[in-house]
Symmetry: C2
């Protein structure tokens, strides 16, 4: 048996559905682990044992610093890390520690906006990661996902942000609504996507009338699943772009997301003449957690 | 044991989720029955036994005429009754009979529209029922439900129609999305509903940005579930009204639906200065099936 890895510190991305950890030495990744023990799948008392299971392969002491971001810090999480109000820097020096004999866990707080009401947990760490790799960057960061965020960033602070349920709507409509019969598979037609984005942007008030036509076109014209799927995606992302127009029109845009989803957003924005940089979500999370670890170390 | 009822004919409303039957004497209801054996819950071979179970309490012979409308006539139903193309009268004299030794079932066809693509099955019978009770009526009929239909009716014909997934979206978002935590219960705030309708109608392009704010307002301001629920309902119905504006603006409107849902639509339209008549959905279905029965009798 080889000696287990002894990390200097642990980075944790603890979201609603998944738990992901990295064994770290400074800014270098020694190893990684993941499980399905997301906040949404755990009882209040289940967090410590979920973490024990995740870290079982590494040599972790009660003094090893563990930096966590995401829904683990929500009211339903392990310990509530109260939201900080924008405008503010994406990373806080104040972290919140859950009660634990086994682990030294420090949970990063999310951000809140009062008018209009909005909240984020986890994305602030990705934004911090992006800014740590791109100092002095000003512009708008789009973070597509289940709940897509658009954040205006200036002078190292998050100034304002807005959340869209586009990913969750796509998931519900494509797997549970009557449209599920028409949008199966993973294939995707680029022309239908572009046209639907354009349709949603030019006539956003008509969106509600377009969704069922995906089903009717399949029934009456035998439209292929890849066209139907791209239309649904294009209509929903187009509706988001319509509402988020003040965030992207004439702005410097970075997209932090999984490659395929980020590419869809970049394509849609590109068609509107707005170029966007893509940054990998997991890499930004890790960079943000690393920046947070350095903060807490410096603060000691 | 009393003698079982011997109906002259049977009226059937056979939808996706439910099966509903009436024992009829001319236009009079002798008795009614219902079950959960909707088309969506049955195998192709299960329709005859589902009908046997529904009619068990009545004296029904293989010669008793049974008139059925709804998804029973879809491709996944008992027998496919091909769509008829609008413009056309809502009722057809040609019905389709499934193979059955036990029953004389006649399935009414639905309607289709080519441009833009759209289909209905069942609502055409409600429209026929409304027109049989209101001869020479011209205007627009709104049929709110899982998939709300707006139909333009003139000179006894359905001229055009449009389908909205509003009911299905409300159901998915209120029970399965992150909003489920905020919109629980059955209570409903009228002022929040009115404001949300107005918001959606005046800025339809902003809708996608409004949905998550229901959750954020709850988290940050403790908005009550009845306000949150009314906002979700108002935003979705408002988005529908925005897209359906050519159907209702300055038109003579009838709403065929369940009382509570029909009342919401009537309230929203009333606030826009558009009065609407409400007609009960089950009553219109029965009137339509009765009109269809008389057609087939006359045609013999």
């Amino acid at each position: 048996m080889t000696n287990p890895i002894t990390p200097e510190w642990i980075a944790l991305d603890w979201g609603t559905s998944n738990l992901r950890g990295w064994a770290m030495q400074g800014g270098a990744v020694l190893d990684s682990a993941r499980s399905g023990d997301g906040m949404g799948n755990l009882e209040k008392t289940g967090f410590e044992s979920a973490l024990t299971a995740l870290l079982a392969g590494w040599n972790v002491s009660p003094k090893t610093p563990i930096i966590a971001c995401g829904m683990v810090g929500s009211r339903q999480g392990w310990v509530e890390a109260p939201y900080r109000s924008v405008p503010c820097k994406p990373l806080s020096e104040s972290v919140v520690r859950p009660t634990s004999d086994a682990f030294d866990v420090r949970v990063l707080p999310g951000l809140r906006q009062t008018t209009p009401s909005d909240v984020m947990r986890g994305e602030e760490t990705q934004i911090a990661g992006f800014l740590s790799l791109n100092p002095n960057w000003d512009g708008v960061i789009c973070l597509p996902g289940t709940h897509t965020k658009w954040a205006q960033v200036s002078a190292g602070e998050v100034v304002s942000f807005e959340t869209y349920m586009t990913g969750e709507m796509f998931s519900l409509l494509s797997t549970q609504s009557v449209l599920r019969h028409s949008v199966g598979g993973e294939d995707w037609d680029a022309v239908a996507f572009d046209n639907s984005i354009e349709e949603a942007l030019s006539k956003p008030e008509k969106l509600a009338a377009r969704l069922f036509s995906i089903r009717a076109d399949d029934l009456l014209k035998g439209t292929s699943p890849e066209v139907s799927r791209a239309r649904l995606s294009g209509l929903l992302i187009g509706a988001e772009l319509s509402a988020a127009r003040p965030y992207w029109l004439g702005m410097n845009i970075a997209i932090i997301g999984d490659t395929s989803l980020a590419t869809f957003y970049a394509r849609a924005l590109g068609n509107q003449g707005v170029p966007a940089t893509i940054a990998d979500a997991a890499r930004m999370t890790l960079a943000g957690l690393t920046a947070a670890y350095r903060h807490t170390k410096d603060a000691r």
